[in-house]
Point group: C2
Chain length 342, copies 2
DNA sequence: TTGAAAGCGTTACCAA
DNA sequence: TTGGTAACGCTTTCAA
């Protein structure tokens, strides 16, 4: 009953308090209320106070649908990730959102589940909210996706990968170089019997190919490979390692396409009483933080999730604000981390 | 150059294709295009085809800001969770979103970080997008939050807890009963020396109190307690257990307020060469799926994340669609799971 | 089955 | 520093 402000005589009145209601109560014009909300520095102190009082009194909540329609600024950023249940993406988005929120933006997340078709429908759905920018995972997008994005005419940041020709900006690391680096790392450790357990998503495949090619370059061929379905989980990792071991893979090293897989594999190694890393060395990807507290000797490829999120946010903001930006390809790098017991 | 549709003579033309553009190309009125999009069954087959062709031709993407403003239906659902980096919330939201997407809604997620102040500002920010419903974590909301929610006049589902007096609907489980059940479980297992490592969030506190009270009821007092800061992580769990052990806690059982803490504690137990569960029994909360693949004998309180997300979505949808709903308190229950070696 | 007119609640533009 | 007027792109209402 506090909301007595249904002053409109329209036949479609919403009942909720509008900027006009606040203006009437404050005794100013609607545009002044709008200024108090958006550019308070342009309003006289006295007016400001009057209006703010009216806002507090009415419990007015601005309508961003109307505001966005009029200003063509939705203050919304869209983000498409394969899965929020996967902590690497979730944490990246957390950092991304945090920075953007500080600049007054909200982030609308969609989960594509590694599917191109789903990405299409998500992008299309999300563009109908007229986001001011969009965060994408990966650099492979269907022709329709690209057309939609170009048509939307907003800043686009692609992530988790690198390409010399991004749609707009790209923030990530090279999966090819990771595959090569892990191969070189294992060779340097003296391994000659090497296996691979990999998911089938695009980026994992690129790591796999580079890995195998680099090994071949060093004369190591006949790599045992086991492919596991998406989404990856502990069971898949365990099964993947079991697959290798059951098919004659002995003492050696195995590269997994994610830490989740490597963790699952550890259970299998334990069940078979294989000493880690002496009899079996495992290398993951993603550097899940819990690795440090649970298993010694699990090596992983680390990249900085916070940095990806933050650089992506900064890139979008600078483009939205029309700052002159030269950097279109941002390589956040990676490193191979050997976990010590702790 | 394909977008030649800037037909408006306005001084604020957007350049992007509008429903009017499509209407002109199809040779129908704008409202017919709108019907094709929203109620295609009310349009003659021939008209339908004509319009769909024009839509495809132009690559028209509807503007939901305008549509939402006119119809007062944003097709947006807001969700506030403590943290998306925590997989229990992330997975719940994934299920929640999936069901809603199938009904044409998108989910806007905000992270409150267990802070009431942050929840206030998030709710306020999110309500300005005029969501058609809102998902909340927990049942404790500040007076301002409640006022905002009531003012918004939309369906609200509270989750992760239970109360006889929800704002609207509540979907969750009883933390009090969990505390009691774990106490009874440990007593039945013959434990008399019992410890607790708990975070300081509201729901963890309720579990803690019920746990200690139930133990007292069975004559077990002097529980060793260690509190750890939010957000919980492996290190905190490890430190918490170390704290207990360093202060004279010997052979016994420890209840952790989350699986994350219990997992971290396992590392400490291993470092001290304590046999699990013979010398030290650990009980977690949340039933992280990886527990099954890494540690035998880690007991946990399980609840169904998928069910929470799905029931919450269903509850919102039925309210949005004005279905007669009797159920306002939905208890999804929980169970204590003993992990077996695998 | 289709359409004309009138909003939805806000901001841009220009003027005072 | 403040305000009037006209959009923004869509849907509702009512009529044909």
């Amino acid at each position: 009953m506090a909301t007595t402000g249904t002053t409109s005589s329209s036949n479609r009145a919403s009942g909720s308090i509008t900027l006009d209601d606040v203006a009437k109560i404050a005794g100013v014009s609607p545009i002044t209320v709008s200024r108090v909300l958006n550019q308070p520095e342009k309003v006289a102190a006295k007016t400001l106070e009057k209006v703010q009082h009216a806002i507090a009194l009415t419990g007015y909540v601005p309508n961003l649908l109307a505001g966005g329609l009029a200003s063509r600024k939705s203050r919304l950023i869209a983000a498409i990730v394969p899965s929020m249940a996967n902590s690497v993406y979730a944490e990246t988005i957390t950092f991304f959102s945090k920075l953007l929120r500080e600049s007054g933006y909200q982030v609308l997340v969609g989960e594509s589940g590694f599917s191109e078709k789903q990405e299409e429908s998500l992008i299309s759905a999300v563009l109908s909210r007229r986001p001011d920018g969009i965060f994408l995972t990966g650099i492979n997008h269907s022709a329709l996706c690209r057309r939609l994005l170009v048509g939307a005419n907003i800043p686009v940041v692609e992530t988790w990968d690198l390409t010399p020709t991004p749609l707009d900006v790209v923030v990530g690391f090279s999966h090819e170089r990771i595959g090569q680096a892990v191969a070189e790392y294992l060779i340097a450790k003296g391994h000659r019997n090497i296996g691979l357990v990999s998911a089938t998503d695009h980026r994992a495949q690129i790591r796999q190919r580079a890995f195998i090619e680099m090994l071949a370059k060093h004369g190591i061929t006949g790599i045992s490979v086991s492919h596991v379905p998406l989404p990856t989980n502990f069971k898949a990792g365990r099964d993947g390692l079991a697959d290798l071991l059951d098919n004659g893979f002995g003492k050696g090293a195995v590269f997994f396409s994610s830490d989740t897989l490597a963790q699952g594999a550890l259970a299998e190694a334990q069940a078979r009483n294989l000493a880690i890393p002496d009899q079996l060395a495992l290398v993951g990807f993603g550097d899940q933080p819990y690795a440090a507290y649970t298993y010694p000797s699990l090596t992983s490829v680390r990249f900085d999730r916070a940095e990806i999120g933050q650089r992506a946010a900064t890139a979008l903001l600078s483009r939205i604000n029309d700052e002159v930006t030269r950097e279109n390809v941002i390589d956040v790098g990676f490193e191979i981390v050997e976990r010590q017991s702790c």
